[in-house]
Symmetry: C2
Subunit: 394 residues, 2 copies
């Protein structure tokens, strides 16, 4: 075996579906000296993380914590704690992450009622209302607030209201929502909500913030079967994240939580509403440039996520060659299409630290060059000039 | 909510059951710029991590990867992938982590045959042989190589041989073993092996290296039921960690893997055998000092882990006050007793970066001061002087 060299990552500009660029302050926080996972100073950090997560998730739920694994594990935490074998769950599918929810439900041995919508469109509240009416015994309604695979925002407030009218729990994927679009867990009455750290929060991937409402906690307490995962059992996790004397469950990822704390602090400094507006604002700048380049946003304006833009690949353009050129010639990462959109679309993220004027203009310039290299026809500087003009007009 | 300050952790000396001190090189690696989890450069890093893990685990298994979550999730990965509902598993319990294995088996709905040994003693091969004979239909034998709760080493080679004679798989916890005591996955024929990063490897907690033998892979392929965890399903994980075109499964913890890569590189530089000897060597230095302080190692020499020392709390000494004094007055963390040893013992770790002469001498000095503050009777400098003398004699 060779002696491997130190790994020096290239300095990318991350404008895909996440991870987004991570601020130097967060990177530096990761590198602080490791302390014990039961050190009183670390417990204090966890308490601050919990308070800050309650703020960014807009909730007062005491059962708010960080799962020591990425968003997919946050999803699994919500499902395995609330759903038991035989339970009926309504799953809304309008992209990859709805499908992943279905996988979770199947593996629990629960019964899934699927409500499907076209990829690239929002979850239809009418269909959900019908499914709820037809399944009055459904224990939970599960849906994705911001579909990372398509760049679609669904109306979480309306969907949750429908579920509440029937006394049905909600399980909500907000991985790409957090700090990017309004998310109000308590006002909307969401029950089990998970998110990710590497999208609009701009921390590295690896953790999943989760919150459970009082109703979700009650459902957990009333289970008839043990939670199938020991690692994700919230009964055990809460002994480590809450209360007076903290009980050892697993060893928390100490340094990752340093970074997460700093990223949460930065959102607190900016103000959550300001973060939401910033994402909406720069999306308009990007859109002005894409329009000028003749590129089409595939999601209708009414349900379009500002922080994740699904762009149709123009005819005659080679997807792989285009993204390789961005990455290798310009250190710019944008996302490939996922699932049904593979080869059909790009996903341009404007998330967290990657959501500013500099990223928008650079992205448009580099895209123009890579398009032209494939014979695409547009005026010199069309995209970036249009975006600059848009910014100047604000 | 207050505006929280930047978190500045105290500079501890970590001599508990893990995490151990993390080297500056590893901390700095964590802080390198984040890149995408499908970036070709990141895939290259993953390939190096895999090769290095094969080296430290002494295996050529192609199915070698890092679970994106701590050791407990590594344990769960092995159980949920290999064990199906109704399967029979022999579980050896001689401490906390054997009990956790039992929890895993129960939550799968499999049948556990428990082989118990006293806490603080090794797994008895005779009992295991009997259990295997009585249960010729057992699918797996599961045991802990290095029990972190008691500081006991069991004879993995002998136990695995017994299992092999019967065509039974082995699931082996090596969380505290890796780089601390000899572990030879291929030579010993271990089938599903998980470890941790924060013990003798001295990376921060949060990841779990795992390896599956060809026999374990075959068992996974021959399952009749889906793996109950989507996040930990090795069928899916292997599409991300192996082969030509890597398929997105979950978003890997990019920066944590930078750190892990650097920590693996450091063990490669030192040489695995040298790391094993270093742990054995400094254990002798610590032991010389503890003897001189009149403190008793509770585990018999024949099965004592050099890297985790179970020390009986002398009569009249207040456990909490003692450890608080070490932490608050000297920034030294040692471990409390766990489970049956709570209040009865301390666990002094000599792991990874924390395993050197400086740590040994400082620990003995600080322990002496904290003991004397509670009226303990010993000569001034007894422990540290004895250790120094031992070192000088080498």
């Amino acid at each position: 075996m060779p002696q491997f060299s130190e790994f020096t990552p290239p300095r990318r500009m991350l404008m895909g579906p996440g991870p987004s660029d991570v601020h130097e302050r967060v990177l530096q926080a990761l590198a602080r000296p490791t302390i014990g996972h039961l050190d009183p100073e670390f417990i204090r950090l966890m308490d601050e993380v919990k308070a800050l997560q309650q703020y960014v998730m807009q909730t007062k739920n005491p059962q708010t914590f960080t799962v020591s694994a990425p968003g997919s594990a946050g999803m699994e935490t919500c499902f395995v704690n609330l759903i038991e074998p035989g339970d009926k769950v309504i799953i809304c599918i309008n992209g990859v992450f709805g499908m992943r929810m279905l996988e979770n439900v199947k593996r629990i041995g629960a019964q899934a009622i699927v409500v499907e919508d076209e990829w690239g469109t929002a979850v239809d509240p009418e269909k959900v209302a019908t499914a709820l009416k037809e399944n009055p015994d459904a224990k939970a309604l599960a849906f994705v607030h911001s579909e990372t695979s398509t760049g679609v925002l669904s109306d979480a407030q309306t969907l949750a209201k429908l579920a509440q009218e029937q006394g049905c729990l909600t399980i909500v994927d907000t991985v790409t929502s957090l700090a990017g679009v309004p998310l109000k867990c308590d006002d909307w009455g969401l029950d089990a909500v998970y998110s990710g750290t590497q999208k609009c929060m701009s921390a590295p991937p690896g953790l999943s913030p989760v919150t459970f409402s009082a109703k979700a906690e009650a459902a957990l307490k009333n289970r008839k079967t043990p939670v199938q995962s020991w690692f994700l059992d919230v009964n055990l996790l809460s002994g480590y994240w809450s209360g007076g004397k903290r009980a050892y469950h697993h060893t928390a990822p100490v340094n990752a939580l340093y970074g997460w704390h700093e990223s949460l602090r930065m959102v607190q400094e900016e103000g959550l509403e300001n973060s939401w507006s910033r994402h909406a604002f720069h999306h308009q700048g990007l859109k002005a440039g894409l329009d000028a380049l003749g590129l089409e946003l595939m999601v209708d304006e009414g349900c379009r996520l500002p922080q994740l833009n699904l762009v149709r690949i123009p005819e005659g353009i080679d997807d792989g060659a285009f993204r390789n050129s961005l990455l290798n010639d310009h250190n710019l990462e944008i996302g490939a299409g996922l699932g049904k959109f593979a080869g059909q679309a790009w996903r341009i993220g404007l998330m967290g630290v990657s959501c500013d004027q500099h990223h928008v203009i650079s992205c448009l310039s580099f895209m123009e060059r890579a398009l032209k290299a494939q014979g695409y026809n547009c005026d010199a500087g069309a995209g970036s000039n249009a975006a600059k003009a848009w910014y100047n007009a604000q």
